[in-house]
């Protein structure tokens, strides 16, 4: 293997891993607050379609259009998450049911596809695409240049978010309270932490990140929209959170591992390696199963794991 191949494998691992980083971080925040959001896939699809539509409709300088499109995508994901938050936190519907319902509602045979058809964006070629930005002019540096300094703004944003979320979780009071809310809401409540507020905020922010993750497909990877284009990435993001033991730093590595598997086929093809594409396409999903089994045994052995109150609605008890 030559260096070029390795570098391009890493670069595409990062590109294909970025939606996983964004959606995974979002899911991580929601789950840390005790809310299991199985609607990630649906939220990503809504982000993808609304972001693309916004970028096609808006006029003005490309970078402003793209920023607005990203905001639109985040709002789409966030408002879906608001529905999930209302159903699971306020009404205390079963979180699994609520999340699944949202994914079905917004999914391939649902709202996102319908919106794409109504807006008639199916065959359109995107007018705008997030291009790579050569950071500090270091993009030409061999090996690390293309990997670290020649990515698109979404990638830099995701790196910033990983650092931010890690710092937030472990080095801020709100992060500490968030962990307490996910582990022992009653104790947190008794100490004056507003459990409902924390859950709402983190579920909604989580949904917004899922929306951004979806928009990455249509605004950065390829400026086109097709129905159901996330192809299960939302589900992998949920698995990834478990695999990462609810830690952002592990999550980012896992995301790039999955990114590498997803892009392995294209990259090797580009280098002339011939293999049935079905094998490559199935790799991320097979990996999900293997990794989840492995993560579960590690968690059992090392007593690390799921936020204790994950999926459990909180009811304040007055005698």
């Amino acid at each position: 293997m030559n260096t070029d191949l390795v570098v391009s494998l890493i670069v595409s691992a990062i590109v294909y891993g970025t939606p996983l980083v964004l959606a995974g971080l979002g899911e991580l925040l929601a789950e840390r607050s005790g809310v299991l959001n199985l609607g990630v896939e649906g939220m990503m699809l809504m982000g993808a379609v609304t972001g693309f539509y916004a970028s096609q409709q808006l006029g003005g300088p490309g970078w402003i259009v793209l920023i607005v499109a990203m905001v639109v995508a985040a709002l789409a994901g966030g408002s879906m998450a608001l529905i999930h938050a209302f159903l699971s936190i306020t009404v205390r519907v079963n979180q699994i049911v609520s999340g699944l319902a949202l994914t079905i509602f917004a999914g391939v045979i649902g709202l996102s596809t319908y919106a794409g058809q109504v807006w008639n964006i199916g065959g359109q070629h995107g007018l705008h695409q997030l291009n790579r930005v050569d950071l500090l002019g270091l993009g030409e540096v061999p090996i690390i240049g293309p990997i670290l300094f020649d990515q698109d703004p979404f990638v830099y944003l995701s790196w910033g978010l990983v650092i931010l979320v890690t710092w937030y979780l472990y080095r801020t009071r709100t992060g500490l309270y968030l962990r307490a809310v996910g582990e022992a809401p009653r104790s947190a409540d008794a100490m004056g932490v507003n459990v409902t507020k924390y859950r709402y905020v983190h579920t909604i922010v989580g949904g917004a990140l899922a929306g951004l993750g979806g928009a990455y497909f249509t605004l950065a990877i390829a400026p086109i929209w097709t129905a159901g284009l996330t192809a299960g990435v939302g589900w992998i993001a949920i698995a990834l959170v478990i695999f990462a033991f609810w830690r952002p730093d592990v999550l980012v590595l896992g995301a790039y591992l999955f990114g590498a598997l997803s892009s392995l086929g294209f990259t090797l093809q580009a280098y002339g390696v011939q293999m049935p594409s079905e094998i490559f396409s199935s790799l991320p999903y097979l990996m999900t199963i293997v990794v989840l089994a492995g993560a579960s045994t590690t968690m059992a052995r090392r007593r690390i794991g799921t936020p204790a109150a994950l999926g459990v609605p909180y009811v304040r008890e007055e005698g």
Binding site: R173, Y177, A180, E183, G192
Partner: protein, 562 residues
């Protein structure tokens, strides 16, 4: 006038001249849904710099009153004031802000967080966004030293013993600079040494002009620590008395409304391990246990396999030989534990919490593998970490963690009762459960074990602590086990349930079971046991005859000084 000087004992129960009371409740009434009046026009006040005991039986309304004082409940009637100013708390957080903090019996800590993280949860001294572990740990260490409340701020709460967890909650209060601390039955989970440590912390707190409200139903400790005592009975405040002007019998009378009857469960014999021979229901043979010359700290006839031959005692029913086991972090916590319990004998396991008691119980119950040594029931060795094997060999386990390990709270009484019987019991035909038969069996067990529930279909989580424990006992003991491992079986139960649980254990021993009673309540151990083994840092510090040992002797062994 401005300084707080008492020139003599104030008349009991009346407001004193001078500064307003640190905390006061007047005419407080609290009704719960279902018509229970937990507090009925309760009046209570406590001064600055005093230890004020709230004395009363379980259900007298002590905890309810304090939950009202700390904003967990809102009173239906009546007023609360702090330093003479009326307050209306909407949540415990409001109460914390007003300087009043309650250390609950069921501690509200977040298990997966560190001690430091738990202490700062919901509270910031500086108001900043950042959480700096090093600074907080230093602050906590400083407070811990000043008030003799020793805990490692970096430890995670799930690693701590119950006594240590209580200290974390006390640290929480002190970190918030609470002027009024309410301790709800704080000694229940403590060993004698820990109680002394707690009392010295409490004295340090009142010396700093804080107020400590001490909820208890134990007279000796109230007499030891309190300056004044308010007695509650059936939801009403009876009176307030000065410690100096009262004694145990007066307090007891005020507490129960009549003279205390001697109604405690005692072994038929004075704990010498020589109760009357009884028929073992499983084997139908006699287990004569009289005249066993166990004395001092020897483990005569139990330690080695051949020892049984030259001892007149029957072979132990449960025998541990040099058992070693690791704790939750893979650190060794049990070191060469050698013990034997004969049929019909109750062996008490005493020790400061966290000296290997939990792990010992789990090893015998097959829930934790042992790394060395052997565990035998009768002649059969137990496979390491084989819970089902342990059950099949007749080991019953009454775990410390009743709700988590003992029962499945969201299943019904019937379902919990058949959890173990499903393999052998008559309540199924092949894989199909015969629920009507199971229900009938459950109803009869409910009667036999005095389980008070609305019916066999009541969910276990709706039952009171005492009834939950009875469900566990009914399931574990109805199969007439050969060995019973009971870990803190009466913790948190009221007097009636406690006596009942003890009588069930004594009854099982009288029917020939070998009982291991692990408890942090030394009185309970001394009262029920024939012999007492003391665990210290995972080793057997000594085994003594319950009839012949003194508290000093036990205390020294528990402290590792013997």
């Amino acid at each position: 006038m401005a300084t707080h000087v008492e020139t003599g004992p104030a008349p009991a129960g009346t407001a004193t001249a001078g500064p307003p009371p640190a905390v006061a409740a007047s005419g407080v009434t609290k009704r719960f849904t279902g018509g229970v009046v937990a507090n009925d026009r309760v009046t209570f006040e406590s001064r600055r710099g005093e230890v004020h005991a709230l004395l009363g039986e379980n259900g007298a309304g002590k905890t309810t009153l304090c939950n009202i004082l700390t904003g967990l409940y809102r009173p239906d009637e009546g007023d609360i004031s702090i330093d003479g100013r009326a307050v209306h708390f909407r949540s415990p957080h409001d109460a914390h802000a007003a300087g009043i903090f309650m250390v609950h019996q069921h501690l509200s800590l977040v298990d997966s967080l560190t001690v430091a993280e738990n202490v700062v949860l919901g509270w910031s001294r500086t108001g900043g966004v950042r959480y700096s572990p090093h600074r907080v740990e230093a602050e906590i260490t400083e407070i811990a030293e000043r008030y003799h409340v020793r805990v490692d701020p970096r430890a995670r709460v799930w690693q701590l013993s119950l006594g240590e967890r209580q200290r974390v909650d006390i640290l929480k209060a002190l970190y918030r600079d609470a002027r009024i601390l309410i301790l709800d039955e704080p000694t229940t989970v403590l060993t004698p040494a820990e109680i002394e440590q707690l009392f010295s912390s409490v004295r340090e707190m009142v010396a700093g002009d804080r107020t400590v409200v001490f909820i208890s139903h134990k007279l000796p400790e109230v007499l030891e620590i309190a300056d004044r005592v308010t007695i509650l009975r059936k939801g009403r405040s009876v009176t307030t008395v000065e410690r100096a002007g009262t004694d145990a019998s007066q307090l007891a009378r005020l507490m129960v409304g009549h003279d205390l009857a001697e109604g405690r469960v005692r072994r038929a014999t004075a704990g010498s391990g020589s109760q009357a021979p009884l028929v073992g229901p499983r084997t139908g043979s006699f287990f004569p246990t009289g005249g066993v010359p166990t004395a001092g700290t020897s483990v005569a006839g139990i330690g080695d396999a051949s020892g049984a031959v030259d001892s007149p005692a029957p072979a132990p029913m449960l025998r541990l030989d040099a058992v070693c086991a690791d704790g939750d972090f893979g650190r060794q916590v049990l070191f060469d534990v050698t013990l034997g319990i004969r049929p019909g004998e109750i062996l008490g396991i005493a020790g400061v919490a966290g000296n290997g008691q939990r792990e010992l119980a789990e090893v015998i119950a097959g829930l934790r593998p042992h790394t060395k040594g052997s565990v035998r029931v009768g002649d059969e060795p137990l496979t390491s970490g084989d819970a089902r094997g342990a059950i099949e060999r007749g080991i019953a386990f009454v775990p410390e963690d009743r709700m988590g390990t003992g029962v499945s709270p969201s299943l019904s009484v019937t379902e919990n009762l058949i959890l173990k019987a499903y393999r052998s019991g008559a309540a199924h035909a092949g894989p199909v459960l015969l629920m009507s038969r199971a229900d009938a069996e459950a109803v009869s067990l409910m009667e036999r074990f005095d389980i008070r529930a609305s019916g066999p279909h009541a969910l276990v989580r709706q039952l009171s602590g005492g009834n939950v424990q009875k469900v566990v006992l009914a399931r574990e003991l109805s199969s007439e086990p050969r060995v019973v491992i009971a870990a803190s079986p009466t913790r948190g139960l009221d007097v009636g349930a406690t006596e009942y649980v003890r009588s069930v254990l004594v009854g099982a021993a009288e029917r020939g079971a070998a009982i291991m009673l692990i408890s942090e309540d030394l009185d309970e151990i001394v009262e029920l046991s024939d012999r007492i083994a003391v665990l210290y840092e995972g080793r057997v510090a000594g085994i003594v005859d319950a009839g012949r040992c003194t508290y000093e002797e036990l205390g020294l062994m528990m402290a590792g000084a013997a």
